[in-house]
């Protein structure tokens, strides 16, 4: 990645677009604190992430592509483990768990092992784990993968709801419709560089599609 300069305020939803291999997942991993940039800084709430990795623990919720789950643990145990790892304890953990279970309709799955969940259910559990500590920044890497149209609509509603509550959301995808449906801003990455960053209201779907294809089909030297 190079020349990447992005800023995101509370309640904003940024759509990160790019073809496969454009650098979306790497960018999100750096923002979440899982990867350290060779140079440059990631600031969260004005504080540098590299100097205080514990910031990510408090402020960031990250759902990587293909939600990584522990097959041998139940849905409830996942939520407890993520809550504890994020520093929640006792009554606060119980409240956070029941709130997210209710919001994502996970109650019927609470005692089910993650290893037997369907792809859509796994994705929902991954999302619940990312949200259990009510992060200020939610980083979603292709969250719509494996979701059916009903689940996709629910995901969009959840993202809008999180944004309305003041959470900044970064949504990586290569599905343009997902971006136009929920994002305020769109950034397009190509071959490791930021090629476009603008407010989405200025575009309609067709204009965004045209812009995206123009960027995605150019070579780095161009």
């Amino acid at each position: 990645m190079q020349g990447l300069d992005l800023a995101l305020g509370r309640g904003q939803v940024l759509g990160l677009l790019g073809i496969n291999g454009a650098g979306k997942s790497t960018t999100l991993a750096m923002i979440a604190g899982a990867l350290a940039p060779d140079s440059g800084r990631v600031l969260l709430d004005g504080q540098e992430l590299a100097e205080q990795p514990a910031l990510a623990r408090r402020l960031v919720g990250w759902l990587p592509e293909r939600a990584p789950l522990w097959q041998e643990l139940t849905v409830g145990e996942h939520l407890d483990a993520h809550g504890r790892l994020r520093g929640l304890k006792g009554a606060a953990l119980k409240r956070a768990r029941s709130s997210i279970v209710e919001r994502l309709e996970l109650a019927p799955l609470e005692r089910r092992l993650a290893g037997v969940l369907s792809q859509g259910q796994r994705q929902r559990l991954g999302l619940a784990c990312a949200l259990v500590h009510q992060p200020a920044l939610l980083v979603l890497d292709e969250p719509g993968n494996a979701l059916d149209p009903v689940q996709l609509a629910a995901l969009r509603a959840l993202i809008r709801e999180q944004a309305a509550a003041g959470t900044a959301v970064i949504l990586s995808t290569h599905v343009l419709a997902e971006v136009t449906a929920v994002c305020d801003r769109v950034a397009i990455l190509h071959e490791g560089t930021l090629r476009h960053d603008d407010v989405l209201a200025e575009h309609d779907h067709a204009a965004l599609e045209q812009r995206f294809f123009a960027i995605a089909t150019t070579k780095a030297a161009a």
């Binding site: 991993a29 990795p53 910031l55 522990w70 790892l85």
Partner: protein, 249 residues
């Protein structure tokens, strides 16, 4: 207990491998306990005639712990192989780092969980000879020294297993590497011993030179320090390797 250790312990107790390993090895040890006890009872009259003859601890308790130590060479690599290699393969190590968890916390949490399982395994094995404590006379000092030696061995092997898991790309590779290194450390001085050298550097390096005195009831600080050093070096390597995950491309 830290959240990481609690999570790892829960996972260990939910995985069939830990149960299978525990059940098979404890059944094997229980069978050997009855054999050792039978031999001890059969030799009672002969042993009573000896002025300083071996007792229950020498013939039952310590040999049982020595068998557990041998089983540990295989059990610990199998138990620890996926602690970090498996997490990395499934993308969960990146997730843990993305939660802002320091590599030290991740490694020590996982180490604490593996060690807790191994100490429970040791306690259940110790319970077999101790179950007859009311009916026989136990040399408590000798048994405690042997138990301490085996506990230190388990702690050292767990750290070694974790380090191998941190460096290996696949859990099976981690287990194989841990087994080979363990056997190497155990037998590194065999050649020197055959040549009649018993106090050289190779002898100091060998794990067997530090465990066997404790199994004989002799606790010396250099032996304890050797196991502590093994653990510290392996854990430091594992922490360094996990920290380097943040730097990868």
């Amino acid at each position: 207990m830290s959240a990481m250790a609690r999570l790892e312990l829960r996972r260990l107790f939910m995985r069939p491998l830990a149960w299978v390993l525990g059940a098979l090895t404890l059944a094997w040890l229980a069978w050997n306990f009855t054999l050792l006890l039978g031999n001890f009872l059969a030799a009672q009259i002969r042993l009573a005639a000896l002025p300083d003859g071996p007792g229950y601890t020498d013939l039952v308790g310590v040999p049982l712990l020595a068998q557990l130590a041998q089983l540990a060479f295989l059990v610990v690599p199998l138990l620890s192989m996926s602690t970090l290699a498996g997490e990395r393969r499934e993308g969960r190590l990146a997730l843990l780092l993305g939660m802002g968890l320091m590599p030290t916390r991740i490694v020590l949490g996982k180490y604490a969980a593996v060690l807790a399982w191994l100490l429970a395994w040791l306690a259940l094995t110790l319970a077999m000879p101790l179950a007859l404590a009311h009916a026989t006379s136990i040399d408590w000092g000798k048994l405690a020294a042997a138990a301490l030696g085996v506990a230190l061995l388990l702690a050292g092997l767990a750290a070694l297993g974790l380090a191998c898991s941190a460096f290996a790309s696949h859990p099976a590779l981690a287990a194989a590497a841990a087994l080979v290194i363990t056997l190497g450390l155990w037998a590194v001085n065999l050649g020197a011993q055959v040549a009649g050298v018993d106090d050289g550097a190779l002898n100091w390096l060998a794990m067997s030179s530090h465990l066997q005195p404790m199994l004989r009831g002799l606790v010396a600080s250099p032996d304890v320090v050797w196991f502590v050093l093994l653990g510290v070096v392996c854990l430091a390597l594992a922490i360094r390797r996990v920290g380097a995950e943040r730097e990868r491309d």
